[in-house]
């Protein structure tokens, strides 16, 4: 039970001694050149294996496995549904013109509830806080990534994606697609599962296809029965076109970033999270309008380091009373947290993060050739067919 509660805050905290925690923290907080336990550079991701279209019965699916053995699969199912607007019934009694407008706007721009996401994590009930929180966090960035007023976009593909995913789900005023995204974590959540689930979902959505529409306009939808002509939910980059990938709307990804001291570290493993000053989930997406990356959200996640047992400096240790206090054991001010710390003695982090660190994180993610682009390109490269 306690194990679960811990996990629900961020992840299972590894059982490290305060001394180990302190050592790890010190290594990671080395100015500008953190030393990670597995020797990665701060922006380097762990190797992962990814494949898509693994479930033939779904509209799109993907699997990603991290090297630490955590694996997730995601299946996307699409269903046709009649657009039932509450305004319909209300408006029928009131002004007709009014209703037209209402209908128009809601039916054209789509609705967030058309995307349904469920996450299953072993050891958790589906109404536990972690799955609910994770699914809502991912769904929100999915349906929220709307570019308003992209009607001017001249490229056909861009027009197709006007209004983002929500807009793409609109078939006509009376019909729409409903997406069911089922996320399944296959292994115990060793580290915080969000990045894994987000990347897998992203990949699954990239491979998602919808049957080709044969009917036109406001007719009841009628589809081509050939799956081979089905169209991608997110249009793929075709080799013939010279368009840059940046011109395509892409599903968002959420990256997990931690800060340790002044350092920003991507794709932290379990141990690294355990000593992080702050854990942030950064959602970003490719925006068709701007042609660059767009930051969707930053959420702080309760760092598990808060729950660790503090170590006792020699000066306060009853057992060490009487022993001469070494000179190094003098409390210094941690430049990041502004707290007094004795080097080499572990103290739970109390949260708080400096603006400059956040700014640094965002910049590392969004800048051209930055981590965000890296990740998106990497995922784009996964063979879909």
């Amino acid at each position: 039970m306690s194990n679960q509660r811990q996990a629900s805050s961020a992840s299972q905290t590894p059982h490290l001694s305060p001394a180990e925690l302190s050592y790890l923290y010190t290594s990671l907080s080395l100015p500008r050149a953190p030393i990670r336990p597995d020797g990665r550079s701060p922006t380097q991701f762990r190797p992962l294996s990814a494949e898509s279209n693994i479930l033939p019965g779904t509209n799109g699916s993907a699997r990603i496995g991290f090297a630490d053995g955590t694996q997730a699969i995601v299946g996307v199912k699409a269903e046709v549904e009649r657009t039932n607007l509450a305004t319909d019934t209300l408006a029928s009694q009131s002004d007709v013109n009014d209703s037209e407008e209402h209908q128009g706007s809601a039916a054209v721009s789509g609705h967030g509830s058309w995307v349904q996401m469920s996450i299953e994590i072993p050891g958790f009930r589906d109404d536990d806080a972690l799955p609910v929180f994770l699914s809502e966090m991912m769904r929100e960035s999915l349906v929220g990534s709307v570019t308003e007023g992209s009607g001017k976009a001249d490229a056909a593909d861009a027009a197709e994606m006007a209004g983002g995913l929500k807009g793409r789900l609109v078939i006509n005023k009376r019909w729409h697609w409903r997406l069911y995204i089922d996320v399944l974590l296959l292994s115990q959540p060793l580290s915080y599962p969000l990045p894994l689930l987000s990347l897998t979902t992203h990949l699954a959505l990239l491979s998602t296809k919808l049957p080709k529409l044969k009917s036109q306009g406001e007719e009841d939808p009628f589809f081509d029965d050939d799956w081979a002509v089905a169209e991608y939910l997110y249009p793929r980059i075709s080799s013939q076109k010279t368009k840059l990938p940046s011109q395509y709307v892409r599903p968002p990804v959420t990256l997990l970033v931690i800060s340790v001291g002044e350092n920003v570290i991507f794709d932290p493993n379990r141990e690294e999270i355990a000593v992080a000053d702050a854990v942030l989930a950064i959602s970003l997406t490719r925006d068709s309008e701007a042609g660059s990356l767009k930051l969707l959200s930053i959420r702080t996640i309760d760092p598990p380091s808060r729950l660790t047992q503090p170590a006792v400096p020699n000066s306060e240790n009853v057992n060490m009373l009487g022993a001469p206090a070494p000179t190094e054991d003098i409390a210094v001010l941690n430049p990041v947290t502004g707290e007094e710390e004795v080097p080499g003695v572990w103290r739970p982090r109390r949260g708080g993060i400096k603006r400059s660190v956040i700014a640094n994180m965002v910049q590392t993610v969004l800048k051209k050739g930055g981590v965000g682009e890296d990740v998106l390109e990497g995922l784009e490269g996964v063979e879909v067919e």
């Binding site: 693994i54 019965g57 694996q71 046709v80 049957p211 009841d220 009628f222 029965d225 799956w227």
Partner: protein
């Protein structure tokens, strides 16, 4: 890390697993991606008798036998393929030339691919069924090759490859594989030379080109046929559809509006702006159709060719209601197609309009009528056809219109286009291209419709076969059976194999220990007799009655135990379920069951023991039913009476034996039952029926054979008890099988069906018809009596019957219980139990009843037989309803034909001694049109249209010939009073009272009936001409 994905190259099992992915849209609007796995195998045999490999690998059944190989080791050769050949047709070849493949002169050793069969099923269900039948017969050597499951011939769809291209590739792949396979496996001793060629038949030019590149022999259907003997006749049988389209190209003018797209139709239907229904053409006016849709009480009118937009009677169409300013009244005119479009030229497309000038005139007249005042003339909602859901096209019997053959008809074998007039008046002319126009003239022929394009005024079809000379008995009978889709071929061997091996020597086992006696009651000592029409061989039912010691009576109805002989799900059962009913023609009976059963083993013949299924009641002397009991039994009928003989015996006071007494009791009970039924509101309906006794001698007046059905008391005796048995059994099986009981219902007709009749009666006779319930209708019909005109009441009953819906079989789960009502019989529940020899429904009911009473059958485990699933029963219901209706139509048509022939024979006899003056009879006016009337002649049970020229005005001779009379039409004027249902016919310019004839509805008229040679559509039928003589 191991991949979860089953990639083809990485998976060692992948070589024989493939998957098929497609999108399925369900009716409820769901769209699903469907993935089917295919497990490819290598043991599907090639089925060629040449092959030495396949026999050893082909899968064997439980007994170790493999399916016999079909394809001959010495297939027929042609000039091009001297060593013989196997044919591999693609879907289009079958679509265009199914009749060729059925032809017995050629097309043997054909490999039908599973791909092709499935594609055909999607394109045309009737053709699919015909192909299946072909595959089943042994003599044509058609082999169904499951190419999609054989590893070597499975073809994966390439990227961006259309499904057609993929299927074509599959056909070529099979041809290639067969060729290699045969070469490798041909039995030793056969030289390579003698290996048959594989010939792909395809009409796709692209496919032929690709085949050439892949070294596969491919020919178009017509090229292949040209290389055969008798090619001219065969070429005619290729469907015209495709060729015609190509040759005409874009030059053609588009006559008809395009159909809406499927998605538009579905949207409209769901939204309720479009409606779906079956298109029906009026028998009096070929330009007027109607569609009954569920949303409205009355059918919607479809007027004119433009609006009917290439729909043919029987098609399931989608219609759109026209704006109100285009609403019209139904026509009050008789319009025949051949009269209006007589001069159309089948070859010329350039000058034709959809609505020819004459047709347009005819239509204008209708518009005038729209401004009438009473209900007959009130404009009614009209609609137009905007889409076709399902074509109801079938094979049509007809003959070549001699006017359309052109002058050089008989000369040469030039291909020309002719019109075929179908026997069914509701079907438009069919354009037919043939090289044998000369031979076909004067023949009954079978044709089929291939297509009806927007740029063609008439549908295009092709010739199938000739039935023989017009007006010969054989040709006309076959035509009739084909037209009503009656299965008349002899029973196949598989069916006959199901008969008891003893044949006619079969007997009820003597020993009661025998398993045949298990669960059967011994009723041999009861005085049972049967009463049937004279000469009846298939005796379904027998009766008995005897007093009981408590003063009550025991009454029993014993029905032939057909279900004992016809076990479920064997070929005989299947054949019977397809035939559905026995069809009675004047001189022929087409049995549902082989005659060994029908006329001997099942038939409750007198003096022999027979198995029966008995319903036994205990009734009080007042015919109150105390209890009822059902049992399988063994009976011995004492006597088989005809109605007349039974009547005589009952009436003869000197007969006092027990059997006669029991019949008298039965008669007494039947009268009480009958009265009770009428009190409950049962209807006494009438249909124009005559009986023909064909076995009378040749010399006399042929017309003496034609008799109206006499109704004796004994007729109703049998009828009452059969009704009682049916009702009793109906409630019993419904009790046991609340979902699957097979019942029969007669829906309450909607009151608006009677509107016209009510109007006519009140206007012409001041009579009222109360249609609020069947009882009210029955009593108001009783009041419709004209003392001057004894037949009037029957006439009204006939007309009332036509306003009703027809009774139908259904399965109990399909309707709510209150809907089970049988309107005509005023019974809350009803079924058919009493004629299992001639109706399949009764056979099912027998099985259900047997199961309901726990009868275990001979082997003790037949308890649930006959209780099929509901969906299967619903299919059966649909079929037997259809067969039942067709059997009635066929029977009537047969009588009509016979009457015509009898009149003709009489006419010829008369002609020898002088002139053919026809026969004078009484007739009654049933309907009045603007340019004619419909007259019913009770003596012959026929009704006929009387046109203007057929009115014999005072002072005219009635001995004129048809053509002479035809001329008259132009000189006649009419005065039609739509509100009074009155038509006055006069000669132009002579409006004096005494020179004209006035007829009105229900009027009794003197008519002269004769058989005349008809030109045009009715040719060969010898139209019965009715002249009104006063």
């Amino acid at each position: 890390m191991k991949s979860l994905r089953r990639d083809l190259p990485s998976n060692p099992q992948a070589s024989n697993v493939a998957s098929k992915v497609f999108v399925r849209s369900t009716k409820s609007g769901k769209v699903q991606k469907i993935v089917r796995e295919l497990y490819l195998r290598q043991d599907i045999p090639c089925s060629s008798k040449l092959c030495s490999i396949c026999p050893s690998i082909a899968p064997a059944d439980a007994n170790g036998n493999i399916a016999p190989f079909i394809l001959s080791d010495r297939p027929a050769g042609t000039k091009a393929f001297p060593h013989g050949h196997y044919l591999v047709p693609d879907t289009n070849a079958l679509l265009n030339g199914m009749d060729l493949f059925e032809h017995t002169g050629a097309f043997y050793d054909v490999i039908i691919l599973q791909t092709v069969l499935e594609e055909l099923r999607n394109l045309s269900l009737p053709l699919y069924n015909r192909l299946l039948a072909l595959i089943k017969t042994d003599e044509k050597r058609f082999y169904l090759f499951f190419n999609e499951f054989r590893l070597e011939t499975h073809v994966r769809r390439g990227p961006q490859e259309s499904i057609n291209d993929r299927n074509d590739r599959a056909v070529r792949a099979v041809a290639t594989w067969y060729e290699e396979h045969l070469r490798a496996s041909a039995k030793k001793g056969k030289k390579e030379k003698s290996i048959p060629a594989l010939v792909v038949i395809t009409d796709d030019k692209d496919n032929i080109k690709k085949a050439k590149a892949e070294n596969v022999t491919a020919l178009s259907l017509s090229d292949y046929v040209s290389g055969l003997e008798d090619s001219e006749r065969l070429l005619d049988m290729i469907s015209e559809a495709r060729e015609a389209r190509e040759s005409r190209g874009t030059a053609g003018q588009l006559f008809y509006p395009e159909y809406l797209s499927m998605s538009k139709i579905m949207t409209g239907l769901r939204a309720g702006t479009l409606h779906q229904g079956v298109f029906n053409v009026s028998p009096y006016n070929y330009l007027e159709g109607s569609v009954k849709v569920p949303s409205f009480n009355k059918p919607l009118l479809i007027l004119g060719r433009d609006n009917s937009n290439r729909a043919i009677s029987g098609d399931v169409v989608v219609i759109e209601v026209l704006p109100q300013d285009q609403w019209k009244s139904p026509s009050s005119k008789i319009v025949d197609e051949e009269a209006v479009t007589r001069n159309d030229n089948p070859d010329s497309e350039e000058t034709e309009n959809v609505v020819s000038e004459n047709e347009r005139k005819a239509l204008q007249e209708e518009v005038k009528k729209a401004h009438g005042k009473n209900s007959e003339g009130k404009p009614q909602p009209t609609a137009k056809v905007v889409g076709i859901i399902k074509r109801g096209w079938r094979q049509y019997v007809g003959h070549v219109d001699s006017n359309s053959t052109g002058s050089q008809a008989a000369s040469g074998r030039r291909q020309q286009t002719v019109f075929v007039l179908a026997m069914d008046r509701k079907v438009p002319k069919i354009r037919l291209r043939t090289r044998q126009a000369g031979d076909l003239l004067g023949k009954r022929i079978l044709v089929t419709i291939d297509s009806w394009d927007r740029d063609s005024r008439y549908p295009t079809g092709h010739f199938i076969r000739s039935l023989g000379e017009l007006e010969t008995k054989a040709a006309e009978t076959e035509a009739l059976l084909l037209e009503y889709d009656v299965q008349y071929k002899p029973f196949p061997k598989s069916v006959l194999d199901c008969l008891p091996s003893e044949g006619h020597d079969w007997k009820v086992p003597a020993s009661k220990e025998d398993k045949g006696w298990k669960g059967r009651r011994d009723l041999r000592d009861l005085l049972i007799c049967s009463i049937d029409p004279p000469g009846c061989q298939d005796i379904d039912d027998a009766l008995h009655a005897r007093p009981l010691s408590n003063g009550n009576f025991e009454v029993g109805v014993h029905i032939a135990d057909v279900s004992h002989f016809v076990k479920p799900n064997n070929p005989m059962d299947f054949e019977a379920s397809v035939r559905g009913t026995t069809v009675y023609l004047v001189d022929k009976r087409i049995d549902m069951l082989p005659s060994l059963l029908g006329t001997d083993l099942c038939s409750l013949k007198p003096y022999v023991e027979r198995y029966a299924f008995s319903v036994i009641w205990e009734v009080t002397p007042n015919a109150e039913i105390v209890s009822s009991d059902f049992t399988k039994s063994v009976i011995r009928s004492r006597e088989a009476f005809s109605y007349e003989r039974a009547q005589k015996r009952i009436d003869d006071p000197s007969q006092t034996d027990e059997l006669t007494e029991s019949m008298r009791n039965l008669l007494r009970f039947s009268k009480i039952l009958r009265q009770k039924r009428y009190d409950a509101g049962a209807l006494n309906l009438a249909s124009p029926e005559v009986r023909i006794e064909a076995d009378s001698d040749e010399v006399g007046d042929p017309l003496t054979d034609v008799k109206t059905k006499a109704m004796l008391e004994t007729n109703s005796l049998v009828e009452e008890f059969m009704l009682l048995a049916n009702i009793t059994v109906g409630s019993k099986i419904f009790e046991s099988f609340s979902q699957t009981a097979l019942l029969r219902r007669h829906a309450t007709p909607p009151p608006q069906n009677f509107e016209d009749l009510i109007n006519q009666l009140s206007k012409k006779r001041g009579m009222e018809l109360d249609v609020s319930s069947s009882g009210a209708l029955a009593s108001s019909l009783d009041r419709c009596v004209d003392s001057q005109n004894p037949f009037f009441n029957t006439l009204v009953r006939i007309l009332a019957t036509r306003c009703m819906t027809s009774a139908e079989y259904f399965c109990a789960g399909a309707h709510a219980e209150p809907e089970f009502r049988h309107y005509g019989l005023a019974s809350p529940i009803y079924t058919h139990f009493t004629s299992p020899i001639r109706r399949y429904a009764d056979l099912i009911v027998h099985r259900q009843l047997a199961s309901a009473i726990g009868y275990e059958g001979e082997d003790g485990h037949a308890v649930i037989e006959g209780v099929s699933t509901r969906s299967k029963l619903e299919d059966i219901c649909q079929n037997i309803n259809y067969r039942h209706r067709n059997a009635q139509f066929a029977g009537r048509a047969s009588i009509e034909y016979y009457v015509g022939q009898a009149l003709k024979a009489r006419g010829e006899q008369m002609a020898e001694g002088g002139t053919d003056s026809g026969i004078d009879e009484e007739g009654y006016v049933m309907r009045v049109f603007e340019n004619g009337v419909v007259v019913f002649v009770p003596r012959f049970g026929i009704e006929g249209t009387v046109r203007l020229e057929d009115f014999v005005l005072p002072g005219e001779s009635n001995a004129w010939t048809v053509s002479e009379r035809k001329e008259l039409a132009a000189h006649r004027t009419t005065d039609f009073d739509i509100e009074e249902y009155k038509l006055r016919v006069e000669e132009k310019g002579h409006s004096e009272k005494e020179r004209g004839v006035t007829v009105e509805l229900f009027q009794k008229v003197k008519v002269n009936v004769s058989s005349v040679k008809e030109e045009g559509r009715g040719a060969g039928k010898r139209r019965v001409r009715i002249l009104i003589t006063g």
